[in-house]
C-alpha cells in the first residue's frame, strides 16, 4: 500500500481521500439498506450521483474560471479551467459508464434518448471537444480565447441536465436529492447518509485531483520556460 502510494505520488490529502473512498464504499455496499424494488443494483446510485455532481460542478468551475481568464488574461485562471475540465471529464466518464450499467437491469436497455441522458451526453461531448482543442491548439492565444468562450457556453447545458426530470417526462427517475419536501426527503435516512458521504468524499477527491493537475500544468510552464532559455542561448538545441 505504501509502495503504491509512493509510486502514485499520493500526498497526505490524497491518502485522506483514499480512506474516505473506502469508507464510502463500505457505506454504499454494506451499510445502506437494500432498495425494495431495484435490489442491490440500486447501490450504483451512491457513486453515480456523486460522479454526476462532480461532472456538473467541474464544468461550472470551467465556466467561472473562463470568465475570469477572459477578463484578467492571467495564466492561473486558464490553468484552473483546463484542470477542472480534465478532472471533470474523468467523472463525466464515470457517469456515462455507470448510468447504462444501472439502466440495463432496471429499464431493460443500456441507453435511451431520455432528456437527462441526452443532456448528459451533450456535456460529455462538450468535455471531449474542449479537451481535444486543448491538446491540439493550447499554445495559440486565439485558441485559448475560443476555449474560454466554449467553457462559458458549455455551462448552459448544466441547468438542462439538472432540471431535465422536472421539465420533461422521461425514463430517468426524478431527483431524490433535491425534492419539494427537502434535501434527500425521497430516501431513507441511511441511504441519505451514504449518499452524502459519497458526495463529500468525491468533492474532496475532485479538489485533490485538481491540485495535482494544476501542479502538473505549472511544471509544464516551467519546462517551457527553461526550453526557451536554452533555445535563446543555443538555437537548435531543444527538439533537435
Amino acid at each position: 500500500m505504501a509502495g503504491l502510494a509512493t509510486r502514485l505520488r499520493i500526498t497526505p490529502f490524497g491518502l485522506i481521500c483514499l480512506v474516505g473512498l473506502v469508507a464510502s464504499l463500505y457505506l454504499s455496499l454494506i451499510w445502506a439498506p437494500r432498495e425494495r424494488v431495484m435490489g442491490d443494483v440500486q447501490r450504483i446510485m451512491y457513486f453515480h450521483v456523486a460522479s454526476a455532481w462532480i461532472a456538473e460542478f467541474a464544468f461550472v468551475l470551467v465556466g467561472v474560471s473562463s470568465v475570469i481568464y477572459l477578463w484578467l488574461r492571467e495564466r492561473r485562471w486558464d490553468i484552473v479551467a483546463y484542470s477542472a475540465a480534465e478532472v471533470g471529464f474523468v467523472f463525466c466518464c464515470f457517469v456515462m459508464i455507470t448510468g447504462p450499467i444501472w439502466g440495463k437491469p432496471v429499464w431493460g436497455t443500456w441507453w435511451t434518448w431520455d432528456p437527462r441522458l441526452t443532456f448528459s451526453m451533450i456535456l460529455w461531448l462538450i468535455y471531449v471537444a474542449y479537451l481535444m482543442l486543448r491538446v491540439y491548439g493550447d499554445d495559440m492565444p486565439q485558441v485559448k480565447t475560443f476555449l474560454a468562450v466554449l467553457g462559458i457556453l458549455g455551462t448552459i447545458d448544466i441547468p438542462f441536465i439538472h432540471f431535465a426530470t422536472m421539465w420533461w417526462r422521461g425514463l430517468h427517475p426524478d431527483s431524490l436529492v433535491m425534492t419539494e419536501e427537502g434535501l434527500g426527503a425521497g430516501m431513507e435516512v441511511d441511504m441519505r447518509i451514504a449518499l452524502a458521504v459519497s458526495a463529500v468524499v468525491f468533492t474532496l477527491l475532485f479538489f485533490y485531483l485538481m491540485q495535482r493537475r494544476m501542479a502538473l500544468e505549472r511544471l509544464r510552464d516551467e519546462a517551457e520556460d527553461l526550453r526557451e532559455r536554452v533555445e535563446h542561448r543555443h538555437p537548435g538545441t531543444v527538439g533537435a
Binding site: L8, R9, L29, I44, F94, L209, L216
Partner: protein, 55 residues
C-alpha cells in the same frame, strides 16, 4: 446472490480502475516533466558557465 450482482460489481470496479488509471497517468506525466526540467536546468547551467568562461 442477487442476479444483478455483476452490474453492481462492474460499475464499482470500473470507477476504481478508472480512478487509479488517471492517478497513474498524472504520476507518469509528473515524473516525465520533472526529469525534463532537471535535464533542462543542467543544460541552462552548462550554457551559462560556458558564456561566463568566454566573458
Amino acid at each position: 446472490m442477487d442476479q444483478n450482482f455483476w452490474y453492481l460489481f462492474s460499475a464499482y470496479t470500473l470507477i476504481w480502475v478508472g480512478l487509479f488509471l488517471y492517478l497513474f497517468t498524472i504520476a507518469g506525466r509528473e515524473k516525465k516533466l520533472a526529469e525534463e526540467i532537471a535535464e533542462l536546468k543542467a543544460a541552462v547551467e552548462e550554457l551559462e558557465s560556458k558564456e561566463e568562461g568566454r566573458a
